[in-house]
Structure formats: C-alpha cells, structure tokens
Symmetry: C2
Subunit: 330 residues, 2 copies
Amino acid sequence: MSVGEFDLIKRYFKQKTSLDESQSVASGVNVGIGDDCAILDIPDGYQLVVTTDSLVSGVHFFEDVCPYRLGYKSLAVNLSDLAAMGATPKWLSLAITLPNVDEQWLSEFSRGFFELANKYNVKLIGGDTTKGPLSITVSAKGIVPRNRALLRSGAQVGDLICVSGCLGDGALGLACKLGNQSVDNKSAFINALELTDPRNELGILLADYASSCIDISDGLVQDLQHILDASRCGAILAIDKLPLSQAMQLERNKQTLTVEQTLQYALTGGDDYELLFTISKRAYQQLCMHKAETTFSVVGEIVKDVEMKLKLTNGGQAVTAQYAGWDHFK
Amino acid sequence: MSVGEFDLIKRYFKQKTSLDESQSVASGVNVGIGDDCAILDIPDGYQLVVTTDSLVSGVHFFEDVCPYRLGYKSLAVNLSDLAAMGATPKWLSLAITLPNVDEQWLSEFSRGFFELANKYNVKLIGGDTTKGPLSITVSAKGIVPRNRALLRSGAQVGDLICVSGCLGDGALGLACKLGNQSVDNKSAFINALELTDPRNELGILLADYASSCIDISDGLVQDLQHILDASRCGAILAIDKLPLSQAMQLERNKQTLTVEQTLQYALTGGDDYELLFTISKRAYQQLCMHKAETTFSVVGEIVKDVEMKLKLTNGGQAVTAQYAGWDHFK
C-alpha cells in the first residue's frame, strides 16, 4: 500500500494532539499542525526556552531498537534539556526521516512519543516527515518566568554540587547492548538507557533554589566541567559520594562489576539524563524542607580556581584520574 | 585531525552569531548557543510562529551538492514557511548530521547559511551536531502581531488568487540535474532550484492585505488545494495566466520545451517557494497602490464549491487535466 506523506502525518501524529477549543487556549496552541507554521501564545512575563536534539540510527540507537522506546527517548532527551533550565515544557516539533512506511513501526513509535508527551502535557505542534536513513530530530519549547531560568553560569564558590537520581546505569546499559560488559541483570540497565525519566518536575522546583544546572548527557565529569567553564570556578568532587542504583551496587557486590568499572560508568557515562546542579548551603536546607521525597545527593563543592579545574577526592583524600566524556567525532 | 563535537559547533556556528549586548537585546536572544537551551524574548502583543523542515541527502539534494548552496537552501525553505504566515523571521535552530568532519565543507555550508540569515537579520540560537548520514533540519522561529498571521483557511468566495514571482523554474532545474530534461540555459533553472529567494518582505506586507497564504513547495495545484480544503471553497485557475520566467519563455520559444512541459512544470513543479495567496479585489487594489514594484500575478479566483475543487481554464474556456504534486512516499 502506498501511503502519502500527508496521510502519514495525519494518521499517526495529528489525531493524537487534536484539541478542543478549551484545551487549545490553555495549551497556548493558537494554530497547530496543518498550516505552514504553528502559532503559539507565550504568556506575559515569560520567556521562551528552546532546545533541539537529534537521534540518529547507528549513533544514538541500534537499527533494531524497539520503536516504542525510540519514540519515548527521542522526546525524553529534549525534555531533559528543558528540565536543566527550570522551564515548563509546552510544545514539540518532530522531524522524522524514515527509510520506508512501516505502519506497525509508526504506531509503536508514536505510542512511546505521546505517552511521555501526555505525561507532561506537552503538545506536538508541527514537524516534517521525510524519506531517508532513520533519524529523529525533536525541538522542544518551554516557558520560564522572565530571568528565572537556570543557567550553567550561576555557580558560586561555596555552593554544593548535587545530582538527581543515580549515575552510570544508562552507560552500563549501553555497554551491555554493545556486548562490552557482562552483568546479571542486563534489563535493569538497558531500561535505564532506553526509558530515561526526564527530571522536569525537579527542574521547575530547582528554578527557585539552585544557582546553576545542566543535565548529564555526556557524563558527570564532562558536564560538570561545562558548569565550571561557564561559572569560572573549580570544583571538588567526592567519588565516594556518587549515588549508585541498587541494581549497580548488587552487581558490584557480586563482583560482576569491579569498583573501577562502577566508578567509570558513574563519572563518565553518558545517557544518564539526571540533573547536575549547584546550590548555596542555605538554599539546600530550604530545598530539603520543601520536598521531603526528592532524590538528589550532594557530591561535591564549588571552589575558587582560576584554572576552572575539577579535583576528585575519595574519603576526603585527593585522587588523580583522567576521565573523558562522550564525543561522537572522537 | 580529530575535531571534537564542541569545537566544531563553536568554530563554524558560534562565532558567526556572537552578539554584543546591544544587538542581543534587539535580537530578542536572552541566552544563545552555549547552555542546555536558548532563551528568547517574545515582544508583548506578538505570537511565536514556528516551522521545521529537513533536507536529506539523496531526497532533497544530491550528495555532491555545493555545500554553500545547501547551507543557503536549508534555511531558505524554512524562511519561506515563515513568509507564508506573514511572520518576521527572528531565530534559527540547526540540527546537522554529518558523515565526517570536513572543514572545507563546513566552512562553505556555514557561509551559505549565514549569508541568508544575515540578509534577514535572523540569529542562530542553538542546535545539534551528530555523526551519521548527511541531513539538515532547521527550525525557524518568527513573530507576528497577535491574530494577524496569514492562514490557509481565510480564502473567501470572490477573492483573487495570486502568485509571486515565476513558476516552474525550480522543478525544471531539478529535471535538468536529474538528466530528465535538456534545455539550453540549464544554469538559470538550477540556480532557481538551489538559490531560492524566500519572499519574507512580501509575506510581511501581505499580512495587511491577503485573506490566505501558502508557499509553493509541492507545486501550485497541490498547494492551492490545501487552501481550498482549509477554506472550504473551490477555485478557477487560468493556466494561460501563469507567470513564466524569461528563461523559460525563451526555451519554449526555441522549442527546447513544449507548451505542455512548460505547463506541467508551472502547475505541478515543487521547489518554487513562491507565495500563493488569496486577496479580496478591493485589498488587491490597495496592495497594488502600496507597492508599485511587487512581482505578483493574478492567476485565478476563489469560487463557491462544496466539493472544494480546482477547475482549470485556458483563454476563459474550461480544460480538463490531471496533475499531481510532489510526494516523497508515492
């Protein structure tokens, strides 16, 4: 069956965002899919926050990836960038390039995509469908009260360094998929890789407390360095304080992972999509009172350093180690 | 030489949009490239207008395409969508997937991209660089005074149907490149294909006069049908009134093109990126007085038709013909 481009877009992407008039006003979508552009209403006193991320077959995912998970993750990585700014996600554009029209695949992809979109009440407002090698580019747009966004450049000497959730599971999941690492409970780590939960609720909360923020997509060390460079300061990172999942601790206890491997995943593994933020000690106390159930850990402190370096400690003692993040072209 | 992703982005895309403070305020860019997201200021009383278009190697361009022209066109097709809404272009996101780091290629691509961006004073505010099969996705953002955007749905019975510029040159250029058509002055048509001039100045002007608008990317017949469907009306299109370039008229006169071929390109050829708009007869008179040098032609009239059909005439006489537009998956 030959399915035209317009039919395709309509069937899998338009119907799922059909809005009745009342929803349309609340969502800020003045004109959605179906014209040359979308038209969006930005509330007075807010700024627009925009990010764009591509997922390419063979680079970010395997060609035989479960389309449900691919749809989910292509959105999750973009929502994570909005979380890192403290922005409320609102709208999505989706540019998808497909080698052919596989309706089963499209159905599953859009199911994963909209499951996450609906969780955060984000609306698909346009995009493009093209024939070609499989790749997905999502542009996510959010709003933030004027001048309240979390930047990388706000860290101050004396601030605590915190991370949400646990570190390294995503990178370990990738290593399992590549056959580079053998562990007992593979699926726990592959789930962490493919069903990343973006930290948007925490990000919106942090806008009132944190001094700087970034999401960990390239690894803790590399992403912390971005904060140090932008804020022109140094940091001490306590490698004995890195939060590890129960699943990872279990593998370490069973010695399917060495301590060094665990550390390597936690320090340099990409694909965690946790929030890394700095916060004054006073604001940290307030944040802890505000939200009892928050899952974040203190892992270090911002220090004065004109060379903007990151130093590692273990049990309070300095350790030396070279760790590099993730870079496609290296 | 190994060039990291971050260096790449900085070298070819960041420096060319460096803004001093005064420019930054005027441009609406509160935070540009270099954080997790960009932050943009939308002026009070305006709406955000957003479009996304991908260009994929082997589909929208040949692998050996001149990178300068590719950079130019990947932006032009997006600006054209903003023109069709009557929006003022403001900001761009660029997601580019490259098989390898070719600095010469990147230099030329960015030169073409920024030449057009600077012409319209549009700022690159973010994006993504990935390794993979060559493809480019641009998301262009503009602003329009609240509720003043040109939609496809505003055409009224009795309105004139107009097109800007000339029709069919882009499609003929593509046919020349594919070796499907032999003409004397190939380069004129290949230039029309690859160095499309988006009609943003005209689009902004039309926001005060036209009743509906679309840009011709899939061919006149198919794009006019989108207006008819959205506006729930029919149309009469005078095929003897279609504006043809001097270059195309010359080929027809020399009989390197038949009359039927000329007509086919003008009616159904994609890649023109001219504006197709409807306008009341009264507003048309005002528009003509307002701008003496406008290059647009009246090619038909909107009529009442519950079946929303397009009828063709030649010298006032009905003609029958079946023409289809461009569809990647057909």
